[in-house]
């Protein structure tokens, strides 16, 4: 007879004296705010503009060999649609929690709605990461943990993809860590791309979103492999020293070509002094002016 009230008391003690598990509801439609990197996220970056990217020599060489025509190859039509696309692209998000059907606990968070690729599933149930020898794909494998009200997602097992849509590549050894933080009706993502093959230090991006009552469609048009006329066996590319766009940034913005070649030093304030004497501000913006 007395057991039920005591269990009730025990439950009350546990609920009241132990801090509630800190998680915040991230579900809903999140409208992308594209005030930063508007060109890069929208129409796409300028060719050979890698300023602010912590390239190593391999990353730079890989980027310099890139021809945009490579995505006309059926094998590479969808090559850049890895999870990095969530931030590098212009897309709004839709997030929802998937409960475990037995316990009701959140088994996974799903981040969806950017076109050309599958949703990102963030496993929250503590499942182990696959063997490093397991298959890599464009979705990769993502697990999440809570730090208070911050959701931290870690993605591995990716295929080669892009860091910037102008040939800056990420390798299949890359790891993406995404931090989700909510402030009222605003969501901010901070992303780190680590890549021992192409980067000397993590590349950092931040993105913001507004909660929207207009539902973001779940999944847009998929990336469909098609024949765009590249003859079989040909891989569009530029040989070393033959990239024709090296002076594109200098011509458009007066920025020294060295800066456009990236490298970690281009991310820090001291670099401004290094290019100050070489920079020639154009009198007037002539293209992609907003």
């Amino acid at each position: 007879m007395i057991r039920t009230p005591l269990i009730f008391a025990l439950a009350l003690v546990l609920c009241g004296s132990v801090p509630a598990r800190a998680e915040i509801d991230l579900s809903g439609s999140w409208s992308s705010i594209n005030h930063e990197d508007a060109l890069e996220r929208g129409a796409g970056p300028n060719p050979d503009d890698w300023a602010g990217l912590p390239f190593n020599e391999s990353g730079r060489a890989k980027a310099l060999s890139f021809s945009q025509s490579v995505i006309s190859m059926p094998e590479r039509t969808c090559w850049f649609q890895t999870q990095w696309h969530i931030a590098a692209g212009p897309f709004s998000l839709r997030m929802w929690a998937v409960p475990d059907p037995i316990t009701g606990k959140v088994q996974a968070w799903v981040v969806a709605a950017w076109e050309t690729r599958a949703p990102m599933t963030i496993w929250m149930d503590g499942r182990p990461r696959p063997s490093k020898n397991a298959a890599h794909d464009q979705t990769g494998f993502t697990t999440g943990v809570w730090n208070g009200n911050e959701l931290i997602a870690t993605t591995t097992h990716l295929k080669t993809g892009y860091i910037r849509r102008n040939g800056a590549a990420s390798s299949d050894q890359a790891t993406i860590t995404t931090h989700f933080r909510r402030h009222g009706d605003m969501l901010t993502l901070t992303l780190f791309m680590e890549d021992p093959v192409y980067l000397t230090e993590p590349y950092i991006l931040t993105r913001s979103y507004n909660l929207s009552t207009n539902p973001v469609p779940i999944g847009g048009p998929p990336c469909i492999v098609g024949d765009e006329g590249v003859e079989s066996g040909r891989v569009p590319h530029y040989l070393p020293g033959k990239n024709p766009f090296l002076d594109e940034i200098a011509k458009r913005y007066g920025i020294p070509p060295d800066a456009a070649l990236g490298g970690a030093e281009t991310m820090y304030p001291e670099y401004r002094e290094k290019i100050r004497a070489k920079f020639v501000r154009p009198a007037k913006c002539t293209i992609n002016c907003g």
Partner: protein, 250 residues
């Protein structure tokens, strides 16, 4: 013991154990004094921080061309002002710090030095443009006076505790003097206001990254709030601190 009595006793036991602080405080007859902002801080924003410019590079590391406004939701009135931007006139005016006001300061590549000025006031200094912002906690009210380049900032802590590092410092700034969101003349008016969130995000190596989300609202010159995020790595010392004067053209 009857079930009803046991239920009541269990409830009292549960509630008394569940709310020990509140009950004991009332029992003493006096509430504890409120914590100061410095004591209440569950994240440490103090120290030297350096800009990491991986976004909007050509609007921050160099001065963009006249007419390059991409990404800014400008009103027609703002565009008219920006279209008239003349760097030579700006330079000659002597008012060189227009692009170092609170809405734009954290976009300028440079270093920050954050310290506690007192128990309720956090001070943030920038070496670029030699600017100082002060963040006032504890229900501070701004004194009446002219609008200033850094305005009046009220701060509060949000979140945090429970052993987590998810807290943020929310800062609301008003009484701003008009200035530029970008060096090429994209304006904000003296009616602009600012909401910012300062938080620490763990980098892959565990070192803190200071991430500041900046929301500028301006009924005169912005069609919608302008939202940008700047990030900074922590530095071990003042070794690279390099105060430089404001510039209207670089």
């Amino acid at each position: 013991m009857s079930p009803k009595l046991s239920l009541v006793l269990a409830f009292l036991l549960g509630t008394s154990l569940a709310m020990p602080v509140a009950v004991s405080a009332q029992g003493r007859g006096a509430a504890p004094p409120p914590q100061t902002a410095k004591v209440a801080a569950s994240i440490d924003l103090t120290g030297y921080w350096v800009s990491v410019v991986t976004e909007d590079w050509r609007y921050r590391m160099v001065t963009p061309a006249a007419g390059d406004y991409q990404g800014v939701p400008m009103t027609p009135a703002a565009r008219a002002i920006a279209d008239a931007w003349d760097p030579a006139k700006e330079e000659a005016s002597g008012d060189l710090c227009k692009s170092y006001g609170a809405p734009a300061l954290l976009r300028v590549p440079g270093r920050l030095h954050i310290t506690w000025q007192d128990d309720q006031t956090l001070r943030m200094e920038s070496d670029a443009g030699k600017q100082i912002r002060t963040f006032h906690f504890g229900g501070w009210k701004a004194p009446a006076g002219p609008h200033t380049i850094q305005g009046d900032s009220v701060a509060e802590w949000e979140g945090g505790g429970r052993g987590a590092t998810d807290a943020s410092m929310k800062v609301t700034t008003s009484n701003l003097k008009a200035g530029f969101l970008r060096k090429n003349g994209v304006p904000y008016s003296e009616n602009a206001s600012l909401t910012e969130y300062y938080e620490l995000i763990a980098q892959p190596d565990g070192a803190p990254l200071l991430v500041v989300t900046i929301v500028t609202t301006d009924p005169a010159y912005l069609r919608q709030p302008f939202v940008i995020t700047s990030h900074f790595k922590k530095e071990p010392s003042a070794a690279k601190w390099n105060p430089t004067a404001c510039s209207a053209t670089w």
